[in-house]
């Protein structure tokens, strides 16, 4: 499903930076450095497209999601939504932006307010944006949404603790699509679910995208799930993008050494293949984000790194059509 760059993208992130100050001294002594959680990320999402954002913990993928929906204040860069920069929006524009961007979180037990019935949870965005003037209309819309995500309307007055993990995630999705957004940020939507339930939710998300033409930013650490769900995949490491390319290019012909190592570390549920696969095991741990290595951040664990990697920070270059890689050696 190749994407022509000419159609205007739903979301365009340019040189996004999110640095958290770490103040060492007492009240007044100035802080001594910052955690560069996200350090210069460029990403765009076309209407109806699913972009997979993959990386290990500490890579900054969740922070990117949080920055987009305004939970975290970026320290640099631009987040353009339908042409205008979210960071400079006035409150009215911001409210409109919030209506058009939904969010689904990871933990089924933590993402629903235990004190509210399913109906009030789903109608929260409707109330926040005054989408319906009468209660009946709102109630009808909620019934409809419940049906769409595969739950029966009778459950509207139940409390979150009376649902299973899968059902709660469906309510989360219903809430996200309630204000019929054009983009949904999915932050690890299925990581906390069991395999069988995981598949049901992935199918639901797929179905909704076809029906409602919603663009997804699919943030996850499970590479096989990302492969199935995404059109394009971006791999992040320590706040920077290592490789961005269409799905098949990344999985079948990975260019960046980190992507290769990542793919080879994932065990495949097939003993025959596993016997034949050649595996490259990375050594050591992810460096601490307060003082990342100079030049390429992956160089300390990279099998093919040399002195050059230490001097300059590799730019994201288009090595093959549609496939961008940030590595001097490729």
């Amino acid at each position: 499903m190749s994407m022509t760059t000419s159609t205007r993208s739903v979301l365009d992130i340019r040189d996004l930076q999110v640095h958290f100050p770490v103040n060492r001294g007492v009240l007044f002594i100035k802080n001594k450095g910052a955690v560069k959680a996200v350090d210069g990320v460029n990403l765009s999402i076309a209407p109806g497209e699913t972009v997979g954002l993959v990386g290990e913990s500490g890579s900054g993928k969740t922070t990117v999601g949080r920055a987009i929906i305004g939970l975290v204040k970026p320290t640099g860069g631009v987040i353009e939504f339908e042409g205008n920069n979210v960071l400079e929006m006035n409150s009215a524009a911001l409210r409109q932006f919030r209506r058009q961007v939904g969010v689904v979180f990871q933990d089924p037990y933590g993402s629903l307010n235990p004190r509210m019935t399913a109906e009030r949870i789903i109608s929260e965005p409707l109330v926040a944006h005054h989408l319906f003037n009468s209660k009946q209309e709102r109630r009808a819309r909620v019934q409809e949404l419940l049906e769409i995500v595969g739950l029966n309307a009778g459950m509207a007055s139940r409390y979150p603790h009376e649902f299973s993990g899968g059902q709660r995630q469906r309510i989360g999705i219903a809430r996200a699509i309630a204000s019929d957004p054009t983009l949904i940020i999915l932050d690890e939507p299925v990581s906390a679910l069991d395999v069988s339930i995981q598949a049901q939710i992935i199918n639901l998300l797929d179905e909704l995208q076809d029906r409602l033409q919603i663009a997804y930013l699919f943030i996850a650490h499970d590479l096989s799930v990302v492969r199935h769900a995404s059109d394009r995949v971006a791999v992040m490491y320590l706040g920077k993008l290592m490789e961005v390319a269409p799905r098949d290019a990344v999985y079948d012909n990975p260019l960046h050494p980190y992507t290769k190592a990542l793919l080879s570390a994932v065990p495949v549920p097939d003993p025959e293949i596993e016997k034949k696969r050649e595996r490259t095991i990375l050594t050591g741990d992810i460096p601490s984000p307060t003082n990342p290595p100079s030049g390429c951040v992956f160089r300390t664990r990279c099998p093919i790194a040399d002195e050059a990697c230490a001097e300059s920070i590799p730019e994201l270059r288009e090595v093959t059509p549609g496939q961008h890689v940030a590595c001097l050696k490729v």
Binding site: G70, L71, R99, V103, F105, N113, P114, A128
Partner: protein, 297 residues
């Protein structure tokens, strides 16, 4: 059961079946709080129907019949002025309960908003409010109460305010710590990401999920307030006589401990049982409202 604060979410009557609010259902299963709860209801019943239950007036003086031992006519005997102790006990129950509950309500009305604003806005407002609360906590409770009482004069309302201000710091600290943990939860992020206004965030998301421990402490607080009133009236500062409260009845009975020990028995035991009942109910509420437990049902 007198509702201590209206924010405990309304009992949802599911069309399918009449379902008691979950916290009440839970409480009924908790043996101790059933005992505690029934004693509190019993005392409330006595207090409300006091005029019907006794022929005497609480301040009616009859010196010739003073120091009568408990008899059929005077269930708990009479005091140094010949006043009927049983009448004074049930009228006293009215005031002690009101003082207890009033001070807890005042404590919550001061403590809860303070705690929530501190937690929600953080930064300077948070540290300013917390330093103010630390200051209040560092002044010994009874001295603070005595100062307030001297300022406002003795009376049911003023005693409740004095005790309420004392309890409010603990309430504020408690709800602030709960609210801070709610702020980290994903449903809070989701609500904020959806553009919900600050006001709704606090009222609909933060408060309902952080109010439980406050309710538990409130029910314990009623007990402590009743004890506080007793100590204050021992120091001569509680509700002005001749209005009877269990506190001033107890400190009055002190002066006749050898000649009329039975005077000591009724208010002492009444205070003891009521305070224990509230702590039973408090424990019961803690188990029922504990979010961790609820998740598992």
């Amino acid at each position: 059961m007198v509702k201590t604060s209206d924010s405990v979410e309304p009992s949802s009557v599911d069309t399918a079946r009449i379902q008691l609010p979950y916290w009440l259902a839970g409480l009924l299963r908790h043996r101790l709080s059933v005992i505690g709860g029934s004693f509190i209801l019993f005392v409330a019943f006595l207090a409300v129907f006091a005029p019907l239950l006794t022929g005497f007036e609480p301040t009616e003086v009859d010196p010739p019949n003073r120091f009568l031992r408990p008899s059929f006519e005077h269930l708990l005997g009479t005091d140094y002025l010949g006043r009927d102790q049983f009448t004074r006990l049930i009228y006293g129950a009215r005031i002690s309960m009101v003082v207890g509950i009033f001070s807890v309500v005042i404590a919550s009305f001061i403590g809860v908003p303070l705690g929530l604003t501190a937690a929600h806005f953080g930064g300077w407002t948070d540290s300013a409010i917390m330093r103010f609360i630390d200051a209040k906590l560092s002044i010994p409770g009874l001295i603070l109460a005595m100062m307030l009482l001297l300022m406002l004069g003795g009376g049911v309302l003023t005693v409740s305010i004095a005790l309420g201000i004392n309890l409010s710091s603990a309430q504020a600290r408690l709800i602030r710590s709960q609210a801070l943990s709610v702020k980290e939860r994903e449903y809070f992020h989701a609500a904020r990401a959806m553009g919900t206004s600050n006001w709704r965030l606090i009222l609909l998301h933060m408060m309902p999920n952080s109010i439980q421990p406050v309710i538990v402490q409130a029910s314990l607080g009623v007990g402590f307030a009743i004890l506080g009133e007793a100590s204050l009236s021992f120091l001569g500062l509680g509700v002005t006589p001749p209005t009877p409260t269990w506190g001033n009845m107890l400190s009055l009975a002190f002066q006749y401990m050898r000649s009329a020990p039975y005077l000591l028995f009724a208010p002492g035991v009444a205070i003891l049982l009521l305070v224990m009942s509230f702590s039973f109910v408090g424990d019961g509420l803690r188990d029922v409202l504990d979010p961790r437990l609820k998740g598992k049902i």
